[in-house]
């Protein structure tokens, strides 16, 4: 039971990291990133491949963050010239491109067979509960640091500029600030968070295949920040927790109502997420913990 709870805690926190990245990008800056899973995938594959070459895990994690951030850089450059909806489509294309590359470049990623045997964190402690708790503790620390950084950014002049970009980009330009550099930095930091999340994921699951990095992951994260409340760290936490409760809970429905095969459950999950997206966007765009004083 403890092991199960620890496992859920790990999965939730990995998703909180993803949600924090999107909170910074969309919630704070207004960048509609539909390609978040692309950064997640780059982090996961980079860290897994390096670790299998014998590179120390600390360096793998750093590489995951750096590579994910670097891959977001060109997207940032393009974003400066595009309207919101075009940017959303381009980012969606980015994540699909990442997925197609990791599917096709078999020499590097082993294609659809994926990469088995990715080393775990804290392998010396073993694979039991203590190791899991150590992973959990590490994740708690990383999430706290990420949250603190985002909070710090929010209170800084930088944070006020990105909020202003979200609320009225033209006004920011008129005041002599160039939104371009700010947007690129925000995208890269958000992508780095997703990259670290990907590294944690790869080293926790120990087996990664391209199918795990479909667009649905991006929209799970969107769902989480919208349930929780856009732009708030508490929102990212609460939203992710509720989402994961639902995703985990849907596994147990099988036991309660027998006769629903897993493949049907996948459809039901997809449908529930789809309907929830529509309902939240329509009736409660600020989410549960949202800032009601703003638009």
């Amino acid at each position: 039971m403890e092991a199960y709870l620890a496992a859920i805690g790990i999965v939730v926190l990995i998703n909180v990291l993803l949600a924090l990245g999107l909170t910074l990008q969309y919630g704070r800056t207004g960048l509609i990133n539909f390609g978040h899973v692309g950064s997640f995938a780059i982090g996961a594959y980079a860290s897994a491949l390096l670790a299998l070459q014998g590179v120390p895990l600390v360096i793998c994690f750093i590489a995951a963050a750096v590579l994910a951030a670097l891959a977001a850089w060109p997207i940032g450059l393009i974003s400066l010239r595009l309207r919101d909806d075009y940017f959303a489509i381009v980012t969606l294309g980015f994540s699909e491109t990442v997925r197609i590359v990791i599917t096709s470049e078999r020499w590097l990623t082993n294609g659809i067979q994926g990469i088995p045997g990715v080393p775990r964190l804290y392998e010396r402690i073993g694979v039991g509960l203590p190791a899991q708790l150590a992973v959990l503790a590490t994740l708690v620390v990383v999430v706290l640091i990420a949250a603190a950084v985002i909070q710090r950014i929010a209170k800084s002049p930088f944070g006020r500029v990105i909020e202003a970009i979200r609320d009225n980009e033209e006004a920011v330009k008129a005041l002599g600030k160039d939104p371009a550099g700010f947007k690129i930095q925000v995208l890269m930091v958000g992508a780095a968070l997703a990259g670290v999340a990907g590294a944690f994921y790869a080293h926790y699951i120990t087996y990664i295949v391209p199918d795990q990095f479909g667009p649905i992951v991006t929209f799970y994260t969107w769902m989480a920040i919208i349930i929780g409340g856009v732009g708030r760290i508490s929102g990212a936490l609460v939203g992710t927790a509720i989402l994961m409760l639902f995703l985990e809970g849907s596994r147990f429905i099988k036991d309660v109502i027998p006769g629903i095969p897993e493949i049907e459950m996948a459809s039901i999950r997809l449908g529930v997420i789809g309907i929830a997206l529509i309902l939240f966007v329509t009736y409660r765009p600020q989410g549960l913990m949202g800032d009601y004083t703003r638009r």
Partner: protein, 287 residues
Amino acid sequence: MLYLQLVLNGFVQGLVIGLGALAITLVFGIARFANAGTGDFLTAGSYGALAAHKATGSLLLAGLGGVAVSALVSLLAYVLVFRRLMGRSVMALLLASIGVGFTIRAIHGLLFGHGQYVFQVPLSRPYIVLGMRISPLDLALMLTAALALTILFVILHVTSIGRQMRAVADNPELARVSGIRVKRVMTTLWLLAGAISAVAGIILGIKTVVTPESGWDMLLPLFSAAIFGGIGSPLGAMVAGILLGIAQELSTPFVGFTYKIVLAFAVMLFVLLVRPRGLFGVVEGVR
């Protein structure tokens, strides 16, 4: 000769992309948002046609059935979701359209399962022209697409509702104060978008296989062609779709089958950066 054959295959693929892009560009031009659920409208058309084909055995009725199903799905999406979000932010409409797509895909998964369906079409001997193998089926599909396009362009350019649609696309405020009933225009728009998506979905289904994901997997080429052709330009979407289809097929001997989608993405990026108004688009203040 191989290349000529690829051009021909690409042309048929391009019809799918062009018709789907047409649905996107119509909605973008008139309802003013990028409908990410369009791919799943295609799939609704494919499944509708499959069901009608199974029930009646007639390909003609299958086509009409698919068009009816997809038009209905599209209209429902408007009435239940998009209508309530008109005037809201780009994010709201985009995310809602993703939600609509997910919901449609979930329903497909539950109704038809996740296996692959194929249309049982009679095999026939291909004509050989200039060394190209042209199957009568491909010719029939081309004629179908041409017929659908003719009907669409007649509606858009000859009928009164078509003129009203173009007026709303041009300037929604002016159209409204001129007494154009926006509700009627929107209803027509969504029925047309659904119907034209269905034609794309049926051709796609006949040429390949139908799965709940088959339409969604086409979404990037569709957006790419809509942008390439110039957002809001039906003719542009069609021309760009066919060009993209041919380019994708011609690229396969060099980059392999899987990179088709990446090519569509690259074309989209290139167009956005170099000529954002596309082939036939008009200059807009913002992009």
